[in-house]
Symmetry: C2
Subunit: 369 residues, 2 copies
């Protein structure tokens, strides 16, 4: 009977989910509130307000969508592009590719601007790919390659286009300033640097983008015109209209995780990610391993490293999991077995976690070798 199985505790050092902050885990198990309870509405309002802080935005329409980060991507496109609209999409990894698929399903004319995996996007090339796109889109932190791109530079060049930004792996981990950078529509996930279990998509949209939205999007569930009333459109205490039943336990958990991040101070949290990533990346290189992402554009929170010649990627990951209860990720796409992805995100962005993964990897390589 599974009820009597030992509890399994993992170090989640892959590309996400990461181990949540203890406050976020504890909040999951609080007594459940109704989704229209005044006490829950307070929690939702505070959550939206905290999300504004981590997004770096004053957007009234900032809310946790009731699905995972990938649904956030879908919400970004279904609300902004329809048949015939041009979407210029920077592709430098798996999630840029996915954006093209999602935008295409909205009927958009997709202009994909391809980049080598492991390199950041070239804002100039993206901005010049089409004279008058309705949207331009890029991934801030590519989870598939561990690369950071310069969203501020793209924002400077966007012109009349609406800029869509994927911040799934950057939010709560590295500098993110949606308003200063010109982000019109942004989506993220909870399970990486925010240190909360997966299940919600933090989302933000400017008034400018909202006014130019698709009036009746093909998705009812992700229709921002309907969802505004669900969260009171950022007006604390404002009227609510029933849209769907909020995932109350997940929202309570996000509320607690965000409070932890904001209490620590966003700058301090970013510095903690920076330090942990630096220890890890330096340590890996000292072990003779080669990093995958281009130098100068490496994410501290998600490190990609090449699997050494003659080493079987899966064997090492299996040893780490079974001997050390420690998860790291394989590579994405064509790099599935030649790259590892190591995340030190949210609660795991700590020097001790960096030292542990270095020591465990050394051990596993010795055993596998």
């Amino acid at each position: 009977m599974a009820s009597f199985s030992p509890v399994i505790e993992r170090h989640l050092f892959g590309p996400g989910p990461s181990n949540p902050y203890p406050e976020a885990t504890a909040a999951l198990a609080l007594p459940l509130l109704g989704h229209l309870d005044p006490e829950f509405i307070k929690i939702m309002d505070e959550t939206c307000e905290s999300l504004r802080t981590v997004w770096g935005t004053g957007n009234a329409r900032t809310l946790p969508l009731s699905a995972t980060g990938s649904a956030g991507m879908e919400a970004a496109f279904v609300n902004t592009v329809g048949p015939g609209d041009v979407a210029v999409i920077a592709v430098n990894g798996l999630f840029g590719q996915r954006m093209c698929d999602v935008a295409g399903r909205c009927g958009a004319e997709v202009v994909a601007v391809e980049h080598e995996w492991g390199q950041p996007i070239d804002p100039q090339r993206v901005a010049e790919a089409h004279p008058s796109p309705k949207v331009i889109a890029a991934v801030h932190a590519e989870t598939s390659t561990g690369v950071r791109s310069d969203i501020a530079a793209l924002g400077n060049l966007k012109g009349e286009a609406l800029m869509i930004t994927d911040a799934v792996t950057s939010i709560g981990g590295i500098e993110l300033r949606a308003d200063d950078w010109g982000v019109d529509v942004g989506y993220a996930g909870t399970q990486k640097c925010l240190g909360v279990a997966p299940g919600l998509a933090p989302f933000t949209i400017t008034d400018r983008a909202f006014e130019r939205r698709i009036p009746k999007p093909q998705s009812w569930y992700l229709d921002l015109g309907l969802l505004g009333g669900y969260v009171g459109e950022g007006k604390s205490g404002g009227g609510r209209t029933y849209h769907h039943t909020a995932p109350v336990a997940m929202v309570a958990s996000l509320h607690a995780g965000l409070r932890r991040v904001i209490d620590e101070g966003l700058d301090n949290v970013w510095a903690r990610h920076q330090e942990a990533g630096q220890i890890l990346q330096q340590g890996l290189q000292e072990m003779g391993l080669e990093l995958f992402a281009a130098e100068g554009h490496r994410l501290p929170e998600l490190t990609t490293v090449k699997v050494p010649d003659g080493v079987d990627s899966a064997t090492v990951r299996k040893i780490l999991l079974e001997r050390h209860n420690l998860e790291i990720g394989g590579g994405a796409g064509q790099y599935a077995s030649t790259v590892w992805r190591i995340g030190l995100m949210g609660h795991n962005a700590r020097p001790d976690a960096a030292l542990l993964v270095l020591a465990a990897l050394k051990d596993a390589l010795a055993i596998a070798g």
Copy 2:
């Protein structure tokens, strides 16, 4: 600081969410597993298997979608209807209406078959509404009115059409036999009779419907062709393809809630809902209150009762919430302030809960009166 606020504990006797089974709550706070961890894949496989039991189906493609019940509705339509396809939809409440909206956004030609609210659907009339629909759809248990409709009878008359069934408020509470009744596509929620927090949509689809599906649906997130690989298509131990990050904490909670239901025995769980609902409905009538749903078609798990003349609905609900920490629901649509909805679902489907809500309502009516 909210960290030092007293914990609020409510009796959730509205139309959902209900108070989860303690096992489901405890599972939320277990150490998080990675979404590709072999131990999590076991949990996912067992969850899909348990879902087959509560659906009454052998469908390989039975899984928890990573969003709330309303996204289950959207998944049902985006995968089965496209421009020009005819969708016959039985409407006897809010959720039938919503189906029309969702199907329309898929480009379907919607034939709505309207019924009076509070009455069950008329299967004959629905089946005769169009000679060759691609789908016919109906709500098994209308959350807006507390009415049960005869899905088996509609299944008998469906002909070549695919039958879509909304089981959000019936699953785990009353008899549901998807295979015996001819359900081709079914969706549900976790937060009502299954006794789990909101956030997932239990979903099932027959091979017949899967073969006739829209090859590339307008939604990437809800594309069943992609989601099959995500859960191994019902083949335990089968290959997994990464689609999106599963909401692991919610799936672990559903896993635990389903185990509780199945350990108790589905027949026993249905009988428990029946008994609690009977005590409540009899007690309400003994108090001189009038039930809203048509006699003979009343759901035991969700009771609708007319607000007595001269009583302010909101005042009574406020007294219940503030004095007794007890939530009941207002009415839906045009009945917002003239009907109450009282749910005894999942863990709350107990005689003591029925007696409590009767006593508390009597008290609140006396105070409000």
